[in-house]
């Protein structure tokens, strides 16, 4: 068995308003180029491709392979939204472990535009198309507004309690040159922001952007790096509650112990985390399920996170850096933890980071997301 390592990361420009030339294919090309340069590889070295995108239709993964000039032994196209990045990481990990591929390009990107995103959101699945969109539920904003209200009731939270999470992520984004929103966010701005879907305000809803992100997963190390990154543990859960729960817990509760046991680590050993952040309530639900919020005291956790003391979503997360589709956004979170563990996160660098957690969450079925994944990465 080979030991897969993340040996390169790369991204395109992230933009709210893509130019005519910033098609999803061109953005993916840019991210790929940057990831290959980072990995010190060429296209000829790539023998596996995993790809996720809502906006490459009518093309599929094999079209991208052809247009990129990739001749492959292994190919995957993933359609699991916010969990696609982690799904591709998991499948890629097993492919490298077993020798099915040596160097895998894991690639995601989207350039749907707002109207295109609205179209996707309103027919995300048949349940949404038939039973939610006709209500005017506003896409996932309507679903997670109700989940957020349930979380507020369950954990005795007020709307303003969430502000610190957004303020902290914006502070991290200010040090990410690729983030679309970098200016500081005040509590007053958060509290007075227009409500999109009560109680969610503008800052609680991910800004849809155009962009692409790429990782290179390899059996070999990258000799140009001082530190390597491996996948220490990997777990997933799909449809754990048949949508019968209230969404304030995630499928992480089905695998949390296995995740830490496999890595021989405990929550307090984790130095940095990228938690999939389509909505603040879902970040908190995942953190709580991962045992990263002491005594499940979410209110106290939020009260202590407005500065940079908590190394959560250190790239600013999708809520500040932008959501280039949930698939590429998920990859960005994985890439950020890899950079942190390789001591390459520049101004955002967390001291002595050795272990990181990354998650993916998504595929809103009816009342909440149906998929969740988590991995522990190790720098060595």
């Amino acid at each position: 068995m080979y030991d897969p390592k993340i040996i390169g990361v790369g991204q395109s420009e992230y933009t709210r308003h893509p130019s005519e030339s910033q098609t999803v294919q061109n953005l993916m090309r840019d991210a790929t180029n940057n990831a290959l340069n980072d990995a010190n590889l060429s296209l000829k070295d790539i023998d596996g491709l995993a790809i996720a995108s809502f906006s490459i239709t009518p093309d599929s993964a094999i079209d991208v392979a052809w247009r990129f000039g990739l001749s492959l032994n292994w190919l995957l196209q993933d359609t699991n939204g916010g969990s696609s990045a982690m799904n591709m990481l998991g499948h890629g990990m097993r492919a490298v472990q077993t020798g099915a591929a040596k160097n895998i390009l894991i690639l995601a990107g989207d350039a749907t535009g707002l109207a295109g995103y609205a179209k996707i959101a309103n027919a995300y699945n048949s349940a949404t198309r038939d039973h939610l969109s006709p209500l005017g539920h506003g896409g996932p904003n309507g679903v997670y507004s109700l989940v957020t209200t349930r979380q507020m009731k369950k954990f005795n939270l007020q709307k303003e309690d969430y502000a610190n999470l957004l303020i902290a992520q914006r502070n991290w984004a200010s040090m990410n040159p690729h983030a679309v929103y970098k200016s500081p966010l005040s509590k007053e701005e958060y509290i007075n922001a227009p409500i999109v879907a009560g109680p969610l305000c503008r800052y609680d809803c991910v800004p849809v952007i155009a962009g692409s992100y790429a990782l290179i997963l390899s059996r070999n190390e990258n000799d140009t790096l001082q530190k390597q990154v491996r996948i220490k543990a990997f777990q997933q859960s799909f449809n754990y509650d048949n949508q019968e729960g209230d969404g304030t817990e995630t499928g992480i509760i089905t695998f949390k112990n296995n995740l830490y046991d496999t890595a021989n680590l405990a929550p307090q050993d984790i130095d940095v985390y990228s938690i999939y952040d389509d909505y603040p309530a879902i970040v908190l639900a995942q953190l709580n399920d991962l045992g990263l919020i002491k005594n499940s005291d979410i209110k106290n956790y939020l009260q202590n996170m407005s500065n940079l003391d908590i190394p959560l979503n250190t790239w600013g997360g999708m809520l500040s850096a932008g959501q280039p589709g949930g698939m590429a956004g998920g990859l960005n979170g994985i890439g950020e933890v890899a950079l942190q563990l390789q001591n390459r996160a520049n101004d955002r660098q967390v001291n002595s980071a050795k272990y990181g957690i990354v998650t993916g969450y998504g595929m809103t079925l009816y009342r909440h997301g149906g998929t969740v994944s988590a991995a522990i990465l190790e720098g060595f």
Partner: protein, 101 residues
């Protein structure tokens, strides 16, 4: 408007909405339709903004616990508050709630 109906497994009587291909409890594929005539409003969200639409008129959606015990997401006609009892109906399979008199 039609009656709001949800699915009851013929084998184990478990309720579900929307319809599943197999009952998640017993695996049966046969269902009866049962009216869910009323429910209690658990949470409300006012949808102020709709992606891609500039002339959107705000409207309420709500999570309602039906008299059969399962929760569904409904559109709301008129004013409601959390805790209100609403009468449920169906507009081509889309659940609609209106405060009961």
């Amino acid at each position: 408007m039609a009656k709001m109906e949800i699915y009851m497994c013929k084998s184990c009587s478990k309720y579900t909405f929307p319809k599943k291909y197999f009952c998640s409890n017993c695996g049966s594929i046969d269902y009866d339709l049962v009216e869910a005539g009323e429910g209690i409003v658990k949470e409300i969200s006012l949808i102020n903004h709709m992606l891609g639409q500039k002339d959107w008129k705000p409207r309420n959606i709500a999570n309602v616990e039906t008299n059969l015990g399962i929760c569904i997401t409904v559109g709301i006609e008129g004013n409601i508050e959390v805790g209100d009892l609403v009468t449920l109906s169906s507009d081509n399979g889309v659940p609609i709630g209106k405060r009961s008199r």
